[in-house]
Amino acid sequence: MCLTETLDEMVQSGTLSPELAIQVLVQFDKSMTEALEAQVKSKVTIKGHLHTYRFCDNVWTFILQDALFKSEELQENVSRVKIVACDSKLLTQ
């Protein structure tokens, strides 16, 4: 997202080498997962009509219609939402 955009810009302007940009991305993935594990405690429940499900290369993809997201803080209604989830066991290995 923002990071990849930034890295793209910097690589294209020549201030950053592509290899280093990749390293930054890898580090971001690590940091993000760590941060999610360590700092986020919220629990969310999702309900909705499953429009599409697919499981490919250990990645689940769900497309929900009229989904309802509930957490402690807020509640969101979405007509269509896509959920992409990779295997937690594979990531920890």
Binding site: V24, F28, S31, E34, V40, S42, F69
Partner: protein, 387 residues
């Protein structure tokens, strides 16, 4: 735009990443600390424009002490207030969220697994066993078995069924034609049979184009050049059923057996002989272009011969658009749907996914939701969907 905790986590992640890649930057050959700071500045700027991170001035007010504490030391190390200066300019931009918001929504997609997910055709994922390993095994086993046969099995059956009745007549006609081509009279039967099917298969292989033409019966009837024979003859008698066409062809072939060999050849002369109306000439020229499709022919047949080309075009235009439009609309809807879906996106890891009949339950963990322009992080999520 974002809950304070989410913003805090993002800031923490930024700090963390910058901190951990510093070694690489400062090391020999690395671009140096300055580039690192530029990276951080740009990144945070974009995050703020996206509304994913709150203004840096609000950082101290972040409820969670953890990230805040982490921030201060980092800022001591970095050029701390250069960042803030950069932030303050965008604050004005923060007041106009809509435009900047759109970029972040779309950008995450290519970077994540989404793009690959789109390209991958939906495999048969109806696995009763939710566990990842078992699911994988099942998918590998099932896909080749279930996925392929159906598409390939269907085409043969139609022409296999339809071929025999046509084949008899065709062979008769071809015997004469082949003889002119200096082939043995005894062989043509088999040869015709083979050539016919191949032509048939080719058509089956290109169904979408022909569906674009929009006339299934023509595909069935037309083998090779033989199809032209049928069409012309049909023009005269206008039979509705396929069996009718077969009879007509056989009868007329007997009548004009001498012309049939010419029909095999690409030369338009025989057509002229058989159908003396000038319209057919036009039709033929058209037909040569769309020879394989044969679509224009039936239109002519059905329509009065008077203004042939125009009628063809018109009728084609009338008939085709509904078919094509319907197909396209369906596809477009799906495509657009997929694209729209990306606006609300949940990225997570799954612990397990189970299904009982049409009821799906999944437990996710450590995910990010981008819903209604809000970023929500969650540690656990449980979903219940009915399919």
């Amino acid at each position: 735009m974002t809950t304070s905790t989410t913003s805090a986590v993002y800031i923490h992640v930024i700090e963390d990443v910058i901190e951990k890649v510093r070694e690489e930057f400062v090391a020999d050959g690395g671009p140096g600390e300055k580039v690192l700071q530029e990276l951080q500045g740009l990144w945070e700027l974009k995050m703020m424009q996206a509304g994913a991170v709150l203004q840096p001035s609000e950082r101290p007010s972040v409820p969670k002490p953890g990230p805040g504490a982490a921030i201060t030391p980092v800022h001591d190390l970095n050029v701390p207030y250069e960042g803030t200066e950069e932030y303050e300019t965008p604050t004005a931009e923060m007041l106009f969220p809509p435009t900047p918001l759109q970029t972040p929504i779309q950008t995450p997609l290519p970077g994540t697994a989404d793009s690959s997910m789109y390209n991958i055709p939906t495999g048969p994922s109806d696995y009763p066993t939710p566990t990842s390993n078992e699911g994988v095994g099942a998918s590998n086993d099932i896909k080749p078995g279930v996925g392929r046969p159906s598409p390939y099995m269907q085409p043969p059956s139609p022409w296999m069924n339809q071929r025999p009745p046509l084949g008899v007549d065709v062979n008769v006609a071809y015997v004469e034609g082949r003889e002119e081509v200096d082939r043995g009279s005894s062989q043509p039967a088999t040869q015709d049979f083979f050539t016919g099917p191949t032509g048939k298969r080719k058509r089956d292989e290109f169904p979408p184009q022909y569906q674009g033409g929009g006339y299934i019966p023509q595909q069935d009837g037309a083998g090779d050049a033989v199809g032209d024979v049928f069409e012309l003859e049909i023009i005269q008698s206008k039979p509705s059923g396929r069996s009718g066409t077969v009879k007509v062809t056989s009868a007329q072939q007997k009548e004009s057996s001498s012309r049939i060999p010419q029909l095999d050849g690409p030369i338009p002369d025989p057509y002229e002989d058989m159908l003396s109306t000038p319209n057919i000439y036009n039709y033929q020229t058209v037909n040569e272009d769309y020879n394989v499709v044969n679509t224009p022919a039936p239109d002519l047949q059905a329509s009065t011969p008077a203004p042939p080309t125009q009628n063809d075009l018109d009728e084609n235009g009338d008939d085709e658009p509904p078919l094509n439009e319907n197909d396209d609309d369906d596809l477009d809807d799906i495509d657009q749907g997929e694209e729209l879906n990306t606006q609300h996106l949940v990225l997570a890891q799954f612990d397990k996914v189970t299904r009982t009949k049409s009821r799906w339950k999944c437990t996710l963990k450590d995910g990010i939701m981008h819903i209604n322009n809000k970023d929500i992080l969650f540690n656990k999520a449980s979903g219940e969907f009915d399919f």
